[in-house]
């Protein structure tokens, strides 16, 4: 139920709508619940047609650093 699916923004339709690619399937998604603006190429989480979160690429890099730490001090 609380399933949110990672998707790629591939087209901006208007202020409240974008087209996302979810594992190869394109569909419209509503951006009303998002503060940040979106650009083509952003990764997002989609829940029942609404974008609920945008991937923070800086943070994703940080994640990888955290792994390196965890994985290195075995």
């Amino acid at each position: 139920m609380c399933l949110a699916i990672p998707a790629l923004v591939c087209e901006l339709v208007n202020e409240k709508r974008v087209i996302v690619d979810i594992t190869g399937v394109r569909r419209e998604a509503d951006t009303s619940l998002l503060e940040e603006s979106l650009e083509v190429g952003d990764y997002v989480l989609v829940h029942t047609g609404f974008i609920i979160s945008k991937l923070d690429p800086e943070q994703a890099k940080e994640d990888l650093k955290l792994w390196d730490e965890i994985l290195s001090n075995q």
Partner: protein, 367 residues
């Protein structure tokens, strides 16, 4: 989509992480119990076989994280009462169709002629009502914060005379507090739900270490995400510290999704909620704000007090939902109650603890 997801499924990373978890767990001579409160966690971790990778003294407990499972029979009774007495069409998620009410499921009700249509979400329910202005529609909405913000977005902008919403929405952090306060439950740390947290952020869990000195980690759903979450909370437990570790930072901010939270605050007010087999849990529900009464099915229709029955004979969903028992302890499990013929609510959704255990034949109960 490969993109950023693939590396969170990396076999080598999974192996190293499970090794690290094993090394940590060896420092405890006792069983360490970690409770998650998310049906998607239960489904995804079992599907990935993660329990079998964990050391024997780690018990990963499924808490009340499946919104369909925790929905009380009374809520379904009331929705059916509206359908029977006001000639409305019910729209709802497919997952709700086979959840038992006191007497029948929506699916069975459909069989006796009640108009019920499955929709993908609230927006599709609204489109259906727009297309059929002569029909009265009630959207039966369940879900935690991930779903309630979507419902909220429509509550604040929809004005259709033939459409209302029956809210059975619930909130997670206050429910976690009630679990902590129970003296019949024993567990050592929480794995907090990733997608709920994309909305509410990490902050609403902070009272848990502060007030209860109890460890929490927030985790996503890929195998590496879940293992990182287990590792983080286990480390706290072993080291005797308590804080909120967020290992899903790429999607979960400290303050959450502020735009979504503003809409939720506007659309809903906190209320007491009925949880299946568990009675009323104060402050764990989301009712539609009075200022949007026009879209609230509970206000639009004068629903009487209905006698209600949450559990069928033999069903122990009340114990399953709070992680007090595992599915295999139920006498009906995989016998008369199966995914294709569910008797209790936990067997219906593919995120229900009993359904997951039956589908993946997981041995998670050893006396």
């Amino acid at each position: 989509m490969s993109g950023p997801t693939q590396k969170y499924r990396d076999k080598d990373v999974v192996n190293i992480l499970t090794k690290k978890i094993r090394t940590l767990a060896e420092r405890s001579s006792e069983t360490v119990r970690i409770m998650h409160v998310c049906g998607t966690h239960e489904h995804d971790l079992v599907k990935a076989g993660l329990r079998s990778l964990l050391p024997k003294n780690i018990d990963l407990i499924a808490g009340p994280g499946c919104p369909v499972c925790v929905c009380s029979a009374q809520d379904i009774d009331e929705v059916l009462w509206i359908a029977d007495n006001h000639n409305v069409t019910i729209t709802t998620f497919g997952d709700m169709m086979r959840v038992p009410s006191s007497t029948e499921s929506l699916y069975q009700a459909q069989g006796r002629g009640v108009n019920i249509q499955i929709v993908y979400g609230v927006s599709d329910a609204i489109k259906l009502a727009e297309k059929n202005p002569e029909t009265e529609f009630v959207f039966f909405s369940v879900g935690f914060e991930t779903t309630s913000c979507v419902t909220a977005a429509e509550v604040v902008r929809t004005k259709l005379p033939n459409f209302s919403i029956y809210s059975s929405h619930k909130v997670v952090p206050p429910a976690m507090e009630l679990l902590l306060q129970r003296d019949d439950l024993e567990f050592d740390g929480f794995l907090a739900p990733g997608h709920v947290s994309t909305i509410i952020g990490a902050k609403p869990y902070e009272f848990i270490p502060e007030k209860y000195n109890f460890p929490v980690s927030i985790a996503g759903f890929e195998p590496v995400d879940i293992l990182l979450g287990i590792h983080a909370v286990l480390k706290q437990i072993i080291e005797g510290t308590a804080r909120v570790d967020n290992v899903y930072k790429r999607y979960v901010k400290q303050e959450g999704n502020s735009a979504a939270l503003r809409i939720v605050d506007d659309a809903f007010v906190l209320s007491d909620a009925r949880w299946r087999g568990l009675g009323i849990w104060p402050g764990t529900g989301h009712e539609i704000n009075d200022k949007y009464a026009h879209i609230d099915a509970k206000k639009k229709f004068d629903i009487p007090n209905l006698p209600t029955e949450d559990l069928r004979d033999g069903c122990i969903c009340d114990e399953i939902l709070i992680g007090k028992s595992k599915p295999q302890k139920c006498k009906l499990f995989n016998k008369s109650c199966r995914p294709d013929y569910p008797i209790g609510a936990c067997m219906v959704s593919h995120e229900g603890t009993c359904n997951v255990a039956a589908t993946y034949e997981e041995i998670i109960w050893e006396e």
